[in-house]
């Protein structure tokens, strides 16, 4: 699996939250992050936004939104990518502070 997993299609949803604080963000992030089907997650209780990257084949978008429903999520954007893309985007040469996207 270790080679084929790189081709796996995953979905990234960027979100805005209507009802979130630092504590609820942290608790919810941990809850979802434990799930093997979630590849990356960040919920910011201060900025009231965040994103989840997950395996859409195994975990539907509705399930993710349902898990986040207490935080009143609103989808800002969606992007499909592969695990290989996620790995590449994580490389340190793509994340030099001051030159990063976010």
């Amino acid at each position: 699996m270790t080679e084929t997993v790189l081709e796996k299609a995953i979905l990234r949803i960027d979100l805005k939250f209507g009802n979130i604080n630092p504590q609820t963000a942290q608790i919810k992030q941990y809850e979802l992050e434990k799930d093997m089907r979630v590849w990356r997650i960040f919920l910011n209780g201060y900025a009231k936004n965040g994103f989840v990257v997950f395996d859409e084949e195994a975990l539907s978008k509705d399930e993710v939104l349902n898990a986040l429903k207490d935080l009143a999520p609103e989808i800002k954007s969606m992007r499909r990518l592969t695990v290989a893309d996620l790995v590449e985007e994580s490389m340190s040469w793509n994340g030099i502070l001051g030159k990063m996207k976010s």
Partner: protein, 590 residues
């Protein structure tokens, strides 16, 4: 106890036997909820503040990140947190004076300006990766090569049990992980530890070592139990030739009971390393109160007796994995000052408390060398994470001397700090200026050096002269031949977890999903890091067997036979290794 032989070593019976005798217990102090919250109010904040100090910790059950109080009581430093499951206190540091002495050398600068995850770190340590909040670059990168293991340690949750998925990154993934850490900005990783499971189980290990070299790593170390190296001398040679600098070898004590992992195999391992001309060995004793903390001096003595191949001893005070009842924590918890104290007692004061320095003191030395040579080698961990010293052996006099006995280390480092500041203000430095400065440092060094106490056969002054005046570091080899590195590295667990320490961690794991994670998040929160990500990238049992048709799970395991142990007991090699050795600390004198 009688040796446990004729089975795959697991250590369960030996540990139970070792833990029977309770020599001392850590009494945790009482603190009420009111006192805790009052303490938090008046506590200092920010790295390096005085005690009581406010930090964040992790709840063992709920995994919430909660405020924690680092405070003093009875000459010791404690960490207390209020978790949903109740108040939890644990020992943070066994000696408040040493805490303050080490704190003086903290390194507060941020040394990394690249990140692997898109987040701000507000949920630290639940979204590691590394994030922009992290302060230290990777000094030592760990890459897990496999979760297969030849032993079956009873406490280990990590190795693949029969039928469980197997994690083994491909060569391409390993290269990517190496490159990722190498390209950290502005200082890339330069040292890598290949670990497991048991990394020697991989058939392509030699190729992996070569890849690490190709990717520009100057230091490659292999974290191993050494078992395969005991029986495959050719493998030792190949490992050395491929570019391995160090075997970072588990070595928990001097008896088959305390060192059940490889006591019987160590004589063969040392012999094979000698024949192969390396790599140098660093012994790694996991140090546990009431289990093997009475053997620390003897382990150092053992290292000194095999100084031709043993380069160091790096003690690792126990990190208590998983949920641990208070009574067990009181029984087994030891911290860096506790291990240092025992070493002082067990070496009859030869290696004393004041002979140790915190790891970040190296940051101050590196600052000077960066200014002086232009190279960048920082070591910027939290001051409570580690300690180190060097001891020198005068073989003729049979005398052991720690480095601070003949060099005023603190004075010299302060002087280098001043010089670094001076050079940084110059902007650039011509050859002549550099030569003059080198000469000045050499002359000044003499005032920090006391020849009377220096070990014979080691010309420290020549070494310093070559390094500072001629830029020649070859003489450092001589330094290593006569010296033994002693280190301490205390990895954290759920109970003594300090987020401020994690933020400054310098020992990281590369994960195949592109993240680089501090040691104490990778292993302490395995459900988010180690176990989860490795499971995402694992082969199912069936996939693995299909890829490796001849492979047999039991074939990976080491079976220690009674015949082998009997043969070792009677061998000259065993005697030479353990029995007919010098007693440099008067350990056996009445």
């Amino acid at each position: 106890m009688a040796e446990v032989v004729g089975e795959i070593p697991s250590g369960e019976k030996e540990f139970a036997e070792s833990a029977k005798k309770i020599r001392d217990i850590v009494e945790f102090p009482e603190i009420s909820e009111d006192e805790f919250y009052e303490g938090l109010k008046r506590a200092s904040r920010g790295y390096g503040g005085k005690l009581p100090h406010r930090t964040y910790s992790l709840c063992p059950e709920t995994r919430r990140v909660v405020p924690a109080l680092v405070w003093e009581n009875g000459g010791k430093v404690w960490i207390t947190k209020k978790c949903p499951e109740g108040m939890i206190t644990d020992l943070y540091y066994e000696d408040v004076e040493l805490y303050y002495r080490f704190k003086r050398w903290l390194w507060g600068e941020k040394e990394i300006y690249s990140a692997n995850v898109e987040n701000s770190g507000v949920n630290c340590p639940l979204d590691c990766g590394m994030c922009p909040r992290h302060s230290s670059h990777t000094s030592l990168l760990n890459i897990v090569l496999t979760n297969r293991c030849n032993l079956s340690c009873w406490y280990c949750f990590f190795y693949a049990k029969e039928g469980q998925p197997i994690y083994e990154p491909t060569l391409e993934q390993i290269r990517t992980m190496l490159r990722n850490a190498k390209k950290e900005h502005p200082i890339g990783a330069n040292a890598v530890q290949l670990t497991g499971g048991e990394p020697t189980l991989r058939d392509d290990l030699i190729e992996i070592i070569k890849i690490a070299r190709e990717e520009g790593y100057d230091h490659v170390q292999l974290n191993t139990d050494g078992i395969k190296l005991a029986f495959e001398p050719e493998l030792v040679k190949k490992i050395r030739e491929a570019g391995t600098n160090t075997l970072y070898m588990s070595y928990d004590g001097m008896t088959p009971q305390t060192n059940w992992k490889n006591h019987w195999e160590v004589p063969l391992i040392l012999e094979n390393v000698r024949k192969a001309g390396g790599p140098g060995i660093v012994l790694v004793p996991t140090t546990i109160r009431n289990v093997n903390d009475h053997e620390l001096g003897a382990i150092i003595n053992f290292g000194l007796n095999h100084l031709d191949i043993i380069r160091g001893v790096n003690f690792q005070p126990l990190s208590q994995v998983g949920r641990v009842p208070t009574k067990e924590r009181q029984r087994f918890r030891i911290t860096i000052p506790g291990a240092i104290k025992r070493i002082e007692e067990q070496t009859n004061g030869v290696i004393a408390r004041d002979d140790w320095y915190p790891i970040p003191i190296a940051g101050h030395i590196a600052r000077f060398f960066e200014a002086f040579t232009g190279s960048r080698y920082y070591m910027t961990s939290h001051f409570a994470c580690g300690a180190a010293t060097y001891i020198f052996l005068d073989r003729e006099e049979k005398r052991v001397t720690p480095i601070p006995r003949f060099i005023d280390v603190e004075g010299f480092v302060e002087f280098l700090d001043e010089k670094a500041e001076e050079i940084e203000q110059w902007g650039s430095m011509g050859k002549l200026k550099k030569l003059k400065l080198g000469a000045e440092i050499f002359m000044k060094f003499k005032s920090f050096y006391d020849e009377k106490y220096a070990p014979k056969g080691l010309s420290v002054l020549d070494l310093i002269k070559n390094a500072f005046m001629h830029g020649n570091y070859d003489a450092l080899g001589k330094f290593h031949e006569n010296s033994l590195f002693l280190g301490m590295m205390h990895f954290m667990d759920e109970y003594n977890y300090d987020v401020e320490r994690v933020e400054r961690c310098v020992i990281h794991y590369a994960m195949p999903d592109g993240r680089i994670v501090p040691f104490c998040t990778f292993n302490v929160i395995p459900e988010l890091y180690r176990d989860k990500v490795q499971a995402q990238f694992s082969y199912t049992w069936d996939e693995w067997r299909a890829l490796h048709p001849g492979w047999d799970y039991k074939g990976d395991k080491y079976f220690r036979s009674r015949e082998f142990v009997e043969k070792m007991k009677k061998s000259d090699l065993y005697r030479k290794t353990y029995v007919d050795i010098e007693d440099y600390f008067g350990l056996n004198r009445e």
